[in-house]
Symmetry: D2
Subunit: 121 residues, 4 copies
Amino acid sequence: MADLLPTEDRKTQLPPLAETGWAAVPRKDAIRKILKFKNFSEAWGFMSRAALAAEKLNHHPEWKNVYNVVDVTLTTHDCKGLSQLDIDLAKAMDKMAPDAEVQRNHGEPVMSLCEIRARTA
Amino acid sequence: MADLLPTEDRKTQLPPLAETGWAAVPRKDAIRKILKFKNFSEAWGFMSRAALAAEKLNHHPEWKNVYNVVDVTLTTHDCKGLSQLDIDLAKAMDKMAPDAEVQRNHGEPVMSLCEIRARTA
Amino acid sequence: MADLLPTEDRKTQLPPLAETGWAAVPRKDAIRKILKFKNFSEAWGFMSRAALAAEKLNHHPEWKNVYNVVDVTLTTHDCKGLSQLDIDLAKAMDKMAPDAEVQRNHGEPVMSLCEIRARTA
Amino acid sequence: MADLLPTEDRKTQLPPLAETGWAAVPRKDAIRKILKFKNFSEAWGFMSRAALAAEKLNHHPEWKNVYNVVDVTLTTHDCKGLSQLDIDLAKAMDKMAPDAEVQRNHGEPVMSLCEIRARTA
């Protein structure tokens, strides 16, 4: 069982993820990043590496792929919100796609997730 | 450029896909299938094979994965609707997942796609 | 650091692997299995799942692929011979390829590995 | 059926591949490259993309993987030697691994393959 990420950890760990393009999903305790690659092959190379990381962490993303775009949402079902596992998987994914273009016109600032509070998860 | 699948081809090719669990996406000229595997590993094995088929056809799915579930939508952007490429990719995917559980409580019967008509694609 | 598999564990764990087609590599404390699939797609589906298992165990195979054939050798570099990790990875791989044809005309019976002894690893 | 690459094409197409690290396999009409990545994840990301290219070309590599190393040999069985398919797959692979370390202490200069001649393929 994973635990909800405590407020103090949110305040230190979420802002660096915002820098790399992760944003808050409205009305959910979840983070989302939309990566745009040059083509399907590059997108698939990223997904293949991310799949390894996910299976290793035993924590899996919700993700959608359309050709060169990979749209990732991370949250932890066990605790109905963000846990350390989401932070770890987000960091691992960031290392695997340093050159992807990041779409930033979605979601809300991660600041909105920096305190644990009641949400409609 | 792919062409919209002619009505006569729809009438022969879509019903067999309905048998394997493909359904019509409401208000789109697109088909969708939701496959449920035993775990992420099985789902990923399927996706890895489907990715090969997609790249070979140069025609890619819109697909979403959450752990053991793969939710696939097929349509052809070039012609804003179903083309032969979608039929070919759907058949290829079906061969790769003979044992997956298919969720059937979504979408509409493919019958609704059996004639070409104006749609909000 | 992984430890060499003790003789008593070899005697119980290696014979079942021999049943599924694993054989001893001559003059090495290693097991090998050669799987033949219908085509590259099936072979790749297997490898994609095995890669997940390997990364999860943090223990990786030596493997060769030529079209529909996957030739796997398992041994543990840390301890210069078979460890429990090899048994675990072999079992995981067996579950992922129940229908593959297994080539059995290579190697030696696993019996030769059932005692720890000096080898030119 | 693929045809053996004509001598004039060898003279123009093989030297650029030598630049990126492809070498001749002794006594075979085949080229080989050994790529070293940072870890298994990077190696697997490369292999996953190369698998797509191979399936698209309907031409597959002989390749071996041990953790972070991918050892690729290309030749065409149909014509018992190098064909244009090998050149195309080699170029595609090179684009997918610009940062891999290339091991260069194996094989012979590609110059030895620049004329078609009898070989024990």
